[in-house]
Symmetry: C2
Subunit: 288 residues, 2 copies
């Protein structure tokens, strides 16, 4: 259990138990993935999108960057910072499974691939494993950012009971402020009061949203992204039938980004010799 | 080819050739669906979402309503207008295939089902057949609403060449004004000029958008709806690589609604004895 002087200076508040390789200062991409997977019961999952999208498992890691997306800008910033391993929550090549056969002759794909190769950057998706973490790493980060960690049910971080009812407009202002959201889309009445909040980040799908609404009977559902013909139409019908239920579409990226920022504090102690940093991909939309 | 005096008064500009049942004043739901399917080569399609969601094929039609969605409000307005057949472009029960097994105990589904039953309303989805019409009925309507019919390629209504380059901001103002859109989301630069426009209404998916961008090399793609990890990220990467390409997300409903309004002028002459009208479902979102 010996600590090196250097490490205790770098990480004064980290216990030895959290250091998987206490004396290790260098890691390969595979070793970083392995030490993360060791924390996940049942890993590696037989079916998962969490695969290496670029780079080699055997390359030595010079620095780790966490982000929602490995955008062209995030790749360039990582390279400039001397990091060659980007851990992302979302796809790199514009489809959930990161299939690239159909993109082989696409100039945007080709240039992105060239950029990754030029800088020798590995990209690993960390989606299924991070959501399967207990607590779910994305929810842990977003609840912390919202200062709502104490309001979540112990066994269901998506269901929150606020200490007192607040107008939906106030809830929206809080979420926009804490999560850095420029604008949300609402189906509902912003003067409605809310106490029971269903928070479903990302794009979990209409069936998942609606089933959760049935079970938890919230005043409002805050989701990341929703197809227009699914949850928004369900909520519109519910309201036209007289039900008190609103929907707030936060935007997919900004609904989960705090969870990738939170990854830094979780991962850094496990790879003490490597700098782990968060580079926000940001939200590409403007609203006109 | 005899015309009754009454019909020529009702429909002075409609040729007999357009009247499938020139002497017929009453129709069942099945007969209306049949006369529409007669216009589609290959119909009925072996696999289609265009099925009857409510009501009976044998019921007599008292009036036809066209809309994007059979919302609770659209159902009530149709019933109040004495119409018992709603033709919609999108699902009635919050999922593409209108599967209802999972919704059996859902109160919103139950009340909507009860409302349809109470008013004896048939709902038929007219999505695949309308898009397969030549011209695509949705594009015909939206191009007319935009006054862009003359700018579309003869064999591809999605590809438009404007008579002169215009700033994207001007293009957006035009689209919002003509289609009744409150707000759009943009990945790009609104001061960019555009001449070559790729218009892809609805939610045709990232692969479809990206493949079309590769083929047609537009200045801007206007789409209905897009998953954040697909087309928006592709366009963001393209722009960060220096490509002049913008994306405008119009919203799914308002990108197609004009095509369901256009259906009225197409269908009315075929069912001269029945009133066909358009009831907008509108866009449920507010922007905060």
């Amino acid at each position: 259990m010996a600590k090196t002087a250097g490490m205790s200076v770098l990480l004064p508040q980290i216990s030895q138990a959290e250091q998987f390789f206490p004396n290790q200062q260098t890691f390969t991409v595979q070793q970083v993935m392995d030490l993360i997977l060791k924390t996940r019961p049942g890993a590696p999952f037989p079916k998962t999108v969490d695969t290496l999208k670029s780079g080699s498992p055997s390359q030595n890691v010079t620095g780790i960057v966490s982000s929602m997306f490995a955008t062209t800008e995030v790749i360039e910033k990582a390279a400039a910072a001397g990091a060659n391993f980007i851990i992302v929550h979302e796809p790199t090549f514009y489809n959930h499974a990161d299939e690239t056969d159909w993109l082989k002759n696409d100039p945007v794909f080709q240039r992105k691939h060239e950029l990754l190769t030029k800088h020798g950057i590995a990209v690993w998706r960390f989606h299924d494993y991070w959501h399967s973490h207990r607590p779910d790493g994305i929810y842990a980060g977003i609840l912390q950012a919202l200062n709502w960690s104490n309001y979540a049910e112990a066994d269901n971080p998506r269901l929150l009971t606020l200490p007192a009812p607040v107008p939906l407009s106030q809830l929206i202002t809080h979420a926009k402020d804490k999560l850095g959201i420029k604008q949300v889309r609402v189906v509902g009445d912003t003067s409605q009061t809310c106490k029971r909040v269903l928070l479903m980040v990302g794009a979990s799908g209409g069936k998942s949203h609606i089933t959760a609404i049935e079970k938890t009977k919230p005043d409002v559902i805050l989701c990341g992204e929703a197809s227009e013909w699914e949850t928004p139409e369900y909520v519109r019908d519910a309201r036209q039938q007289g039900q008190k239920l609103s929907l707030v579409v936060l935007g997919h990226i900004m609904s989960e980004a705090a969870g990738m920022e939170w990854l830094v504090s979780w991962l850094q102690p496990k790879v003490a010799g490597i700098k782990v940093s968060y580079i926000p991909s940001g939200n590409p939309f403007t609203y006109v």
